[in-house]
């Protein structure tokens, strides 16, 4: 009923309105067509790899350009592992930064700090990669990895989890760099979200005698819950697809990582490393297939986020 009256209103307003509507629909269609085109071309380009290796492409970890045998398990695990670790560091920190800026920080400081965070979000990823390689990795090796490795008893669980070449290029440091990369972005959006909460709601809570912790816990975060999930998923999306910074520091080994401090590879770093010199048809197809898998993982993450939002019934 409401829709019918809306469309008749558009018709009444003449050709300008119809044109506008058409242009908007056109923009949306173009986007969807481009997206579909990407998926289809990735599927066509990667098809030889799927045909040659079948489902084993997804769960075997051999990656051998000499014998032309490829399996994507190493990069898939590396991608999921680095992104998950990065998020588990970045999420609490980003929430903390945003809450501090909105609830506790003096107004005179909040603005410059907010601007600084937004500037951090704009640093190119290659700069983070070089920082990771030349600054973080040697520091991490000397002050964290070596002490842990030396104190772990041979054969203990700590030895298994933390073994690896002591030079700081591993899955864990790659995840740390990723966390630093997505943190400012997430903090900036969280801050914007918290600022959208009407001040009188929070003031009313304080008026009722709530402490700061209670206000954040029961008012601030619940009122933007839906958006928080969205921000987390966008952060995860960036961490999954990040290429240059990770390539510099992850150690680039295609086998399944044996420990947290072992070298690994992500899907994006593998493609960046090998695509320019991939001369074999099957090698190239396998890299394109990796691209498709990354696309599907990212798509899956977004779909799960949507499903979670619907089930929590906000």
């Amino acid at each position: 009923m409401a829709e019918a009256s809306a469309s008749s209103a558009i018709e009444r307003r003449g050709p300008g309105e119809a044109l506008f509507r058409f242009a908007c629909a056109g923009a949306a269609t173009l986007l969807m067509t481009a997206l579909a085109g990407v998926v289809v071309s990735l599927a066509i380009g990667g098809w030889p790899a799927f045909r040659a290796f079948g489902p084993a492409f997804l769960y075997t970890a051999t990656w051998n350009p000499v014998t032309d045998v490829y399996g994507a398990a190493g990069p898939i695990v590396g991608t999921l592992l680095t992104a998950t670790i990065a998020l588990s560091f970045a999420l609490p920190l980003a929430l903390g930064v945003a809450v501090f800026l909105v609830e506790f920080c003096p107004a005179r400081l909040a603005t410059p700090i907010g601007i600084a965070i937004e500037l951090l979000a704009g640093i190119p990823s290659i700069v983070y990669g070089m920082w990771g390689l030349f600054v973080l990795a040697p520091w991490f090796a000397a002050y964290i990895q070596m002490p842990i490795a030396l104190s772990a008893e041979a054969g203990s669980w700590a030895d298994t989890v933390f073994s690896g070449t002591p030079n700081g290029a591993n899955i864990f440091t790659a995840a740390l760099v990723l966390a630093v990369m997505i943190l400012p972005y997430m903090a900036a959006v969280f801050r914007e979200l918290f600022l959208t909460i009407p001040p009188h709601v929070r003031e009313a809570a304080y008026g009722l005698g709530c402490t700061s912790l209670e206000v954040v816990h029961s008012i601030t975060i619940p009122s933007v819950r839906r958006s928080i999930v969205g921000v987390v998923m966008l952060g995860l999306g960036r961490a999954l697809g990040e290429t240059m910074a990770v390539t510099f520091i992850i150690g680039n080994s295609h086998s399944l990582p044996r420990s947290l401090f072992d070298g690994g590879a992500t899907i994006a770093s593998t493609i960046a490393n090998e695509f320019t010199e991939a001369t074999g048809a099957l090698h190239e197809a396998s890299l394109v297939a990796l691209g498709l898998i990354l696309f599907l993982i990212t798509f899956g993450v977004l779909a799960i986020a949507r499903a979670l939002l619907r089930s929590t019934d906000l």
Partner: protein, 345 residues
């Protein structure tokens, strides 16, 4: 007045672009890119012809010249005669360079630590894991090697440097050949991958006891510690222009079908064992003969006048008699409309 000035500038610009000769494009290997860029600069000053070279990687260069989107392609790895025939291409070597293993051992000077191809292969296979292993100590009787674990570093990106290095390991060790093989990128049994020469040298610099391999010119510029290697004649040599030239002089250029030239593990007494040429690819039956002719003229000019540029960048030129031979091959093998494409100008 300003308008008039602007007009005359515009006229001048138009006239000069129309008057100066064509511009050509090539794409491929990044290893010889600095030399080609310097050649192109000098060539433009001498002849007015502009050469655009894009260092997109050997794989990309082969693809683009096969597709005909560039006039010439460049590859660090020679194509096998049957692949050349299938793609309708002709290849020739332009420059020679070397790969140097580098180490991070406290107190070690350039060339002081000696290794053989077999030991190097066993290190990269993960069988020799400490610097004081008996195999290493046996050929370094005067050195006191530390009890340090060996950290193996390799290139993570596909590269001609890796191709030369793994080819050398394959020739030196049957086990390496069977288990790993030689290619632009291989399934490394152990070790860390650094991206590019800079990534490998950063990991080696930051890790005590690390070993890696990089292009010699990069090692020299960055003061990395190089090794001595035992060559096929049994002598220990250090990387450098002399030992690369010795390898180039010892190679059998005349009997290499399709110019498939490998300079790894040459038998000459002074030869460095990990040496390779880099190659240019052009179509044998070009659709645009004038462009291919201009590209060949550029490389003929580089052969004749480019040696000082080559030496300054720590490359070695192709031996002069071979350059002459290649130029003669062009007139014989690259044909369009029944006529040779290349002619001297």
């Amino acid at each position: 007045m300003p308008l008039k000035l602007l007009c005359s500038i515009a006229m001048f610009v138009l006239a000069s672009t129309a008057g100066s000769a064509r511009s050509l494009s090539g794409a491929g290997a990044s290893f010889p890119a600095p030399a080609y860029a310097k050649w192109a600069e000098a060539y433009r000053a001498a002849t007015g012809v502009k050469i655009n070279y894009q260092a997109i990687g050997s794989g990309g260069g082969i693809k683009q010249v096969t597709a005909g989107t560039v006039t010439f392609g460049a590859s660090d790895k020679p194509l096998k005669p049957q692949d050349l025939a299938a793609a309708g291409l002709y290849q020739f070597p332009t420059l020679i360079g070397g790969v140097a293993p580098i180490v991070n051992l406290p107190g070690a000077a350039n060339g002081q630590v000696r290794l053989s191809g077999d030991i190097l292969a066993n290190i990269y296979l993960g069988r020799i894991r400490r610097w004081n292993a008996p195999e290493i100590a046996a050929i370094n009787p005067r050195l006191k090697l530390p009890n340090l674990p060996i950290t193996v570093v390799h290139r993570s990106d596909g590269s001609g440097t890796t191709f030369l290095f793994t080819t050398y390991l394959s020739r030196s060790s049957g086990d390496w050949q069977r288990q790993v093989g030689a290619s632009d990128a291989v399934a490394w049994p152990i070790g860390l991958g650094g991206k590019g020469n800079d990534g490998v040298s950063a990991f080696v610099r930051q890790t005590k006891g690390a070993i890696g391999y990089i292009e010699y010119s990069y090692a020299k510029q960055n003061g990395a510690t190089t090794l001595s290697l035992r060559n096929r004649s049994g002598r220990f040599t250090v990387p450098g222009m002399q030992s690369f030239a010795a390898a180039a002089a010892s190679a059998d250029w005349l009997h290499s079908p399709g110019n498939y030239m490998m300079l790894v593990d040459e038998p000459a007494a002074g030869a460095w064992p990990i040496v390779g040429a880099t190659f240019i690819l052009v179509p044998r039956r070009p659709n645009h003969p004038a462009e291919v002719r201009d590209a060949l003229r550029f490389f003929a000019w580089g052969f004749r006048h480019g040696d000082t540029i080559v030496a300054a960048l720590n490359f070695v030129p192709v031996p002069a008699p071979i350059e002459e031979l290649l130029v003669r091959q062009w007139s014989r093998l690259i044909i369009a409309d029944g006529k040779p494409v290349y002619s001297r100008w």
